[in-house]
């Protein structure tokens, strides 16, 4: 680990200024991802700006929706009465992530900004365009069983590992950001990026921009929801593939649907075309299969992740079945 300076401001503006003016400064929240990466020399900030004293941990009703403060803990969000009543899909996604101990440290903002678990990104002796632009993509012809089937480029085939973000993209959330130029709102679907030629950039945040909150609009997805996560053990593992499904049912007819996949792309993968397939149809396995087929259009696999071409649609179907039965 490199040596670094440490600051702990109590006002958002001070934190933003500290990071905006210093290209080697970095916010730190729960530290569950950043500290790991620093220990391995993957990230080497010269200055850490600890944001835990900023008043950003509230969970509240706001403009026909819920507002989650950026510093609200993953466990606090998952246990919150309002969230449980109104956004059970998010609760399921949060509880599918990491372990209870980690969720007690991890924050909403940190979770969105956690970095890929691609092993080539983690090993500083190996090529990785995300960590060291221009060195090549180690995964492209390497051990790529965990890697993307959508939206990748020849520079990077890593996936975004967050479970929470898969639910948030499905639920049409909005990210609230404060920066040196003022405040702005970013639709969740536009928050994370595809790798293109600049995989070193995970998101569309600019230097110094601080996530202050996430807004989730009210929606009728309070019952028929499922976050189905397939992993190599029953708990405490990143997804091979995960699927978020939220349905509004009228009898057995689907009135509205939200779908997203995790573990398949550089960002949480919203499936709007597949959602359209579902609307107005009966909630049957046949319908779900049609939607899954549409969802998989354009998917392409590498040497070791061929299985995802089958696992992803199957997981989507299973999530829809579970959501319907809920």
């Amino acid at each position: 680990m490199n040596q670094f300076q440490y600051a702990r401001p109590s006002k958002p503006q001070a934190a933003i200024r500290a990071v905006a003016k210093d290209a080697n400064a970095q916010f730190i929240a729960g530290g569950t991802n950043l500290v790991d990466l620093m220990k391995r020399g993957v990230m080497t900030p010269q200055k850490l700006v600890d944001i835990n004293r900023l008043p950003l941990n509230k969970i509240e009703r706001q403009n026909n929706g819920l507002r989650l403060g950026a510093l609200a803990l993953n466990s606090a969000v998952a246990d919150d009465k309002l969230v449980r009543e109104r956004q059970p899909l998010l609760v399921q996604a949060l509880n599918a992530g990491a372990s209870a101990q980690l969720r007690n440290m991890a924050t909403v903002g940190g979770n969105m900004l956690q970095r890929t678990r691609c092993p080539y990104f983690y090993d500083t002796t190996m090529p990785c365009n995300k960590r060291a632009p221009g060195t090549g993509c180690g995964a492209l012809e390497g051990i790529n069983r965990m890697h993307a089937i959508f939206g990748f480029s020849d520079k990077c085939i890593a996936v975004h590992p967050s479970d929470m973000s898969v639910a948030l993209v499905a639920l049409d959330a909005t990210v609230l950001v404060s920066g040196p130029q003022g405040d702005r709102r970013i639709p969740f679907a536009d928050f994370h990026r595809l790798p293109g030629d600049t995989p070193q950039k995970d998101t569309n945040l600019e230097r110094g921009e601080l996530i202050t909150a996430v807004d989730i609009p009210d929606a009728p997805f309070t019952r028929h929801v499922s976050y189905y996560k397939v992993r190599e053990r029953a708990s405490y593992a990143f997804a091979l593939v995960s699927a978020a499904a939220a349905l509004e049912l009228d009898g057995n007819t689907i009135k509205a649907a939200r779908l997203a996949l995790g573990g398949v792309a550089h960002k949480p993968w919203r499936l709007t075309a597949a959602e359209q397939v579902l609307v107005g149809k009966p909630a049957t396995e046949a319908t779900f299969r049609q939607a899954a087929e549409v969802a998989m259009q354009g998917a392409k696999a590498f040497k070791y992740n061929e299985y995802k071409l089958k696992l992803a649609p199957n997981t989507l179907v299973q999530a829809l079945k579970t959501a319907t039965a809920a």
Binding site: N2, T125, M126, V230, E232, S235, F238, L311
Partner: protein, 744 residues
């Protein structure tokens, strides 16, 4: 006086349980010696070649750094040979990679330097400043690609009777001409032990020729021998302390590069040095269960009698040590097969050396053999339990002699009843629970009931406590507790009055904790030491008291502060007097295996029954029930023994469903580097494991009747799960682990 309760067979609480749960137990990295400093290893980033240059200047200048040691400046350990094969040694070669002896790189992450600093953080920071340049050579890390280069192990070449030599009874490869036959290949990947406690050592040169090591090791005597030899010291000048070991599963059965490095570092800075590996380094330099390819050919008659088996295995080893294990042994003795061929080969790769991992080769071999048994039963349309019964062996078909004891049929019965085997359908894919497919499978395990020579010391202290000492380690099975129980029953003494001390090479010599042999070996030594102590006390008492002179040792009884005689309440001899007399009561015994090992084949046996649920869409597998039954001789402590069985079963779940260390062959480097991507079972993966012990003594192994538990707890679990997955889905997975991608 209330008669004492017999301790053997009960579930006596662990003697060190309180120390462990309160954090008071001291592990290798927790000895805060005065002047202690910290060492961090720098590893190579190529798999093969030479160090062209090593720039340590920045590291040396970094704050707090005391030394940067490499092949450029390391003091020569007089007995340290450069790494290389030492064919004089059987099995794994007792020539561990001696670090810093030359500029050769033999595997990726091989230690090329060690940085010592006054704090761990400063040592780690400085380690990152060491820069190496390499002259790289082409490396080989892929077993499959190198199988054409497989060779017969040196020890087999020298000795055709070696357990890894080719074996033949009846006709060679007779299965090929069988009417009903199968031929299948099975693969297990590299698996890594990953005990919770990282490998650690605190090395302290107490004088230029006196070395004390607080070390994570399974054998204090073996570690003492290795490093005394490396430094050209008399063995008594080296002391190895391993009082508490936080799990090992085999990875502390060998001396490793980091131990050599810490000792060299301590020599250079002339202060005690602590070195603990990182989880990442646990993959690369302290052994693993080797990636192994196997092939089984089997033929049987229509009524389910096996006519021939050929079992071949090719395992991976390093370029500098020939590691072999008994992958094929059980195939030669488990089933009645008149024609039997085994062939064992090695492939040397540019990876660190493997080492035995729980159940070792037998667990690897059992995956192939027990899967093949299931495949053959399916071909025959026979219940796999019935198929095994039709090929049951009442005596050892390999050596043509009787078993010392074998109660495997009893295990079959108990396990079948407990798992609900009658629910199993012959045809796969027939049972469901909601969305999930349900299946049942079984797998058999066996392991030699080994007993080695062991010493033990005992003495009575003036306060009426009996102190016993043995160099043996307790890596978690509860050795200290079992020995206390054996002593309590032998002496007729309350276990609270017994202090069994272990884990120190200064104590009476004992074998390395491994191969399920410790209760078999140290147990009788403790028993004999207690008998000798009783005899000595009677003798001492007799000198002052005629009643004792006439008594038999077994009538000597311990009371508060004095000895009494059963049947003679008047006779008494106080402890204080006995100890004063003759200046002490210490006895020492040297306990050796008897001659029965030549007449009988001695094995522990187990069978595991698994019930699994498989999700047909996602390929997720959940083990919903596991029943493990063992014929392990006398059970000394039903709680710690049960704990061994459960832990072994959970290890088997890991082997079956998730453990897989992956290397990117282009770089010859592991891509699985921590416990987030090398998966071991979590609680949610482990069902309640039901355990059954036959608990029949084996009179031939030792006087206690024990046979050993640790290995058979794991051997056979992985195939039981694989067979259950087949029964649930009709899909036969022959390459572990059984991850979702292989089932959808």
């Amino acid at each position: 006086m209330k008669p004492l309760q017999k301790q053997i067979g009960t579930g006596m609480n662990r003697v060190d349980g309180r120390l462990k749960v309160t954090g008071a137990a001291t592990y290798a990295a927790e000895y805060e010696l005065p002047g202690l400093v910290y060492a961090v290893l720098v590893g190579s980033t190529i798999a093969k070649g030479r160090l062209a240059s090593l720039d340590t200047k920045a590291a040396e200048r970094a704050p707090g750094v005391l030394a940067v040691v490499s092949h450029l400046n390391a003091p020569k350990a007089p007995g340290a040979k450069p790494a290389g094969k030492d064919p004089s040694q059987p099995q794994t070669v007792g020539n561990p990679l001696a670090v810093f002896t030359d500029d050769k790189i033999r595997f990726n992450d091989q230690p090329i330097a060690v940085v010592v600093a006054d704090t761990l953080e400063r040592a780690r920071f400085a380690a990152g400043l060491v820069k190496a340049q390499y002259a790289q050579e082409a490396h080989q890390t892929n077993l499959e690609a190198n199988r054409p280069q497989a060779f017969l192990p040196t020890q087999a070449k020298k000795n055709p009777k070696s357990p890894v030599a080719d074996y033949q009874r009846g006709q060679v490869d007779a299965y090929k001409t069988g009417a009903l036959k199968l031929e299948a290949e099975y693969v297990i990947p590299t698996e890594v032990h990953h005990p919770m406690e990282l490998q650690a050592i605190t090395a302290h040169w107490e004088a230029p020729d006196r070395l004390t090591l607080y070390d994570k090791t399974q054998g204090t005597m073996a570690t003492r021998r290795d490093f005394a030899k490396q430094w050209g010291l008399p063995e008594e000048n080296v002391k190895v302390v391993a009082t508490f070991v936080g799990g090992a599963f085999g990875n502390a059965l060998h001396s490793w590069p980091h131990e050599s490095a810490a000792i060299i570092a301590a020599k250079v800075v002339n202060r005690p040095v602590k070195l603990m590996l990182t989880r990442e380094q646990m993959f690369t330099m302290v052994g693993y269960r080797p990636h192994t390819w196997q092939k089984i050919g089997m033929s049987a008659t229509a009524d389910g009698k096996i006519t021939a088996i050929t079992h071949e295995a090719t395992g991976q080893t390093s370029t500098y040590e020939e590691f072999t294990e008994s992958t094929l042994g059980q195939t030669r003795m488990m089933y009645q097969a008149p024609n039997l061929t085994t062939r064992y080969r090695l492939v040397a790769l540019d990876i660190g050396s493997p080492i035995w991992m729980r159940g070792p080769g037998e667990a690897t071999g059992a995956f192939a053999l027990e899967s093949a048994m299931d495949e053959m039963a399916h071909l025959l349309n026979l219940d796999p339990l019935e198929f095994r019964l039709r090929n049951y062996t009442d005596q050892d078909p390999e050596r043509n002699r009787p078993w010392s004891t074998k109660f495997l049929k009893e295990c079959y019965q108990a396990g079948a009843d407990r798992i609900g085997w009658s629910k199993r359908q012959l045809k796969p894919g027939m049972l469901r629970d909601g969305d999930w497919l349900v299946g049942y499978g079984m797998g058999v395990g066996t392991f030699g009931a080994h007993r080695g020579a062991s010493k033990a010391n005992a003495q009575l202290l003036p306060n009426g406590t009996v102190l016993l000492q043995s160099a043996v380690t307790d890596i978690g099975p509860g050795t200290g507790t079992a020995m206390t129980q054996i002593a309590a029953d032998t002496l007729g003494l309350d276990p609270a009055k017994i202090r069994f001390e272990w884990g120190n090479s200064s104590f009476a010599s004992a074998p390395t904790q491994g191969g399920s042999a410790i209760v078999n070996s140290v147990g009788p030594a403790v028993q004999e030491a207690c008998l000798a102590l009783k005899a000595k006390l009677r003798e001492l008492a007799a000198a002052g008291n005629g009643a004792f002179a006439a008594a038999r040792p077994e009538d000597v009884a311990f009371a508060d502060g004095h000895l009494t005689l059963n049947g003679n309440p008047a006779a008494r001899a106080t402890y204080a007097d006995l100890v004063k007399q003759a200046g002490g009561t210490a006895v020492a015994v040297d306990s050796k295996p008897g001659p029965d090992g030549q007449k009988y084949s001695m094995y522990s046996f187990s069978v595991h029954f698994a019930e699994v649920r498989v999700h047909p869409l996602t390929g997720e597998v959940r083990v919903s029930k596991l029943v493990s039954c063992a014929d392990a001789g006398t059970i000394i402590n039903e709680k710690t023994a049960g704990n061994q069985m459960k832990g072994g079963a959970v290890g088997g779940i890991g082997m079956a469903l998730m453990e897989h260390a992956m290397i990117d062959d282009r770089f010859g480097r592991y891509v699985t580097k921590d416990l987030a991507d090398y998966h071991v079972p979590v609680h949610a993966d482990a069902p309640a494991v039901e355990v059954f012990f036959v608990n029949q003594p084996d009179p031939h192994v030792n006087a206690l009747g024990t046979k050993g538990i640790g290995e058979i707890a794991t051997i056979g679990v992985a195939p039981a799960i694989a067979n259950a997955v087949f029964n649930a889905t009709g899909k036969r997975v022959r390459e572990l682990p059984i991850t979702p991608d292989k089932l959808i």
